[in-house]
């Protein structure tokens, strides 16, 4: 019988991606419900050493394939590796990050394993029988649908980065590392990587920031916001309005067509809070909103809402924190 909650732990250039740790966190939560184990799949080249990190973040067992065929991401070798491990150990659930890697690999696997897949989930729950309830936004975040996969295993879903919460690192956690051997079918490897080129992200990693100072249309000059972010040890982010206006980089954009963030504090200055923007930040732990319009939708999600001129408040904040 299928059991245990598994996470495909994405790595790039040998670095475990944050979303993998977030998924281990939610997998831990789901596993408590049924008393199952949390399993991690770790694929890559010269990657074995990272297995301990996955245990520290919640995995009970790590299935590692350390192979030069897995150095760079290419669908088929990755699909063969996951298929063989999954068929042998029959997990009940496999979670993937909804990244350009997870959203390439997971559907391929769902067709290969003949099971269902739910895309880009923002909420996961489990009942005592081990049925996974996968909730995802639809139609631009206006509607949420909860999807189940009652008769097929594994239950698979891709999960939006930045939504789930990773556990605090615990180096005393115990777990098992299993090295898996894959019987490769290289006749299927018909895609060759000619080059792989890194592209830098100008705005830094807003998904990883502990605090975000985010600006919208109500802020004309973003320099005071940058100054405040620096003072508070955070980063700047933006609503779509300033990105479209060319003031902020797309890499800083929070929302449906940008990034989903959940910092410890999200300070929204001059952002009205279109539903597409709220979808990207409402999971933040503490939300402060400053806007002149007291009916702005951002106040519906703010823990502390202040009706005032955003630019003037920014100026005063920088003065106080000098």
């Amino acid at each position: 019988m299928a059991k245990n909650i598994w996470v495909f732990c994405e790595q790039r250039d040998g670095e475990i991606q944050n979303v993998a740790l977030e998924l281990l966190g939610v997998a831990r939560e789901l596993a408590e419900k049924t008393g199952e184990k949390v399993g991690a799949i770790l694929l890559g080249h010269n990657i074995k050493g990272k297995a301990a990190d996955l245990i520290a973040y919640g995995a009970d067992e790590v299935h590692v394939v350390d192979d030069e065929r897995l150095g760079m991401f290419v669908t088929e070798p990755y699909a063969q590796a996951v298929t063989q491990i999954a068929k042998e150990h029959t997990p009940s659930v496999i979670l993937f990050g909804a990244t350009s890697i997870g959203r390439d690999l997971a559907p391929r696997l769902s067709a290969r394993l003949k099971t269902g897949l739910t895309a880009d989930c923002t909420k996961l729950e489990m009942d005592e029988e081990g049925n996974l309830f996968m909730t995802r936004p639809a139609f631009g975040g206006n509607l949420f649908a909860t999807i189940i996969c009652p008769d097929h295993r594994p239950q698979m879903s891709t999960v939006r980065p930045g939504v789930m919460k990773k556990l605090d690192r615990d180096d005393f956690r115990k777990g098992e590392v299993v090295e898996e051997n894959i019987a490769w079918d290289e006749s299927k490897f018909s895609v060759t990587v000619l080059e792989e080129v890194a592209e830098c992200q100008t705005c830094g990693q807003i998904e990883n920031a502990k605090l975000l100072v985010s600006c919208g249309r109500g802020v004309k000059d973003v320099a005071p916001a940058r100054e405040l972010a620096l003072k508070l040890g955070g980063s700047v982010a933006s609503s779509r309005a300033l990105v479209d206006a060319g003031v902020m980089d797309h890499g800083c954009q929070v929302g449906q067509t940008g990034k989903t963030v959940r910092p410890q504090a999200y300070l929204a200055f001059g952002i009205s809070g279109a539903i597409q923007h709220l979808a990207g930040m409402e999971e933040s732990e503490f939300i402060v909103a400053v806007n002149t319009d007291k009916n702005a939708p951002i106040f519906k999600v703010a823990n502390l809402g202040i009706v005032a001129d955003a630019a003037a408040v920014l100026k005063n904040l920088n003065k106080i924190l000098q």
Binding site: R12, F73, T75, E76, S100, R103, D104, P107, R108, A111, R112, K114, T115, G116, A119, D120, A138, F139, N142, L143, F144, A145, T146, I147, I148, C149, D151, S190, V191, T192, L194, E195, E196, V197, A198, E199, Q201, L211, L232, Q264, A265, L267, I275, E282, F286, V288, K294, F299, K300, A302, N303, L304, I306, V307, A308, V313, N316, L317, I320, L321
Partner: protein
């Protein structure tokens, strides 16, 4: 070279309204369009056709109204179009949908299959990779540029990631999912608009394809929608009207009390 482009007709989501009582979409009066990524996929196929010679076949699955999307594709310059339509197809999730489309592609025959990366109504990006698995051919997703190396008989594809790109080479049959950023789709050609009414749109039904009825439609779909809900907000809310100086002090105090300063 025979290229099949899979497209989807979608409601223009910028005009979508939700019925607050039933939680269903109000589709009435919402214009339908070719999904943007798919329209670029048609464009990419037409460019290959113009440069290297190819036939471009466009297919879609849906109700008879989806014919409009196929007509538009023909007017852009596609050579032929097929509508996959049957009651037996209704209620299919992504896996069941991909099973039907793969069976149709098998019947029609293709060297290259193009899909858009994802549809704006579902945002799953799943059907393309699932089709390629059913067909047993390689996939390249998130294509930002495509070219053909005639000498080597290989497609060269720029595959976009969040933080990098790869240049990939693939020989033989393959399926590629295309980003709308690859290029701007052309407008419909006036002469093609006039001429395309004479082009027939082929109809493909359940009886035309080889597919196990247990693997399609509602009963062939592993995933089911359990419930839908509109957005709920449940935060503790405090909204204050303050002068800028007091506002700044209040924010600093709040951050301090949460040990964020």
């Amino acid at each position: 070279m025979k290229i099949i482009v899979c497209i989807k007709q979608v409601p223009n989501t910028t005009e979508i309204k939700i019925d607050p009582i039933t939680n269903t979409l109000k589709r009435d009066g919402v214009p339908s369009i070719i999904n943007p990524d798919d329209k670029t996929a048609i464009e990419a196929a037409l460019q290959l056709k113009e440069k290297y010679g190819a036939t471009v076949t466009v297919i879609t699955m849906g109700p008879t109204q989806a014919e409009k999307a196929l007509r538009e594709a023909l007017a852009m310059g596609a050579d032929e179009a097929f509508l996959l339509t049957d009651r037996a197809f209704a209620g299919s999730d992504t896996l069941a949908t991909s099973t039907i489309i793969a069976a149709a592609i098998k019947k029609l025959g293709a060297d290259i299959v193009f899909c858009g990366r994802q549809a704006i109504d579902g945002d799953t990006a799943q059907v393309g990779p699932q089709i390629s698995e059913h067909l047993g051919i390689p996939q390249i997703t998130y294509a930002a540029a495509i070219d053909y190396d005639a000498e080597r008989g290989a497609l060269i594809v720029k595959r976009q990631f969040e933080d990098r790109y790869q240049t990939l080479e693939v020989k033989g049959q393959c399926l590629i999912t295309i980003l709308s950023t690859l290029d701007k789709p052309r407008y419909m050609n006036v002469w093609d608009i006039v001429g395309q009414d004479e082009k027939e749109i082929g109809i493909i039904t359940f009886n035309d394809i080889e597919v196990d009825p247990e693997t399609i439609g509602l009963k062939g779909s592993p995933t089911k929608v359990k419930s839908t809900a509109t957005k709920q907000f449940d935060k503790t809310i405090e909204t204050l009207e303050l002068d800028p100086e007091t506002a700044a002090k209040t924010i600093v105090d709040a951050l301090k009390s949460r040990h964020l300063i």
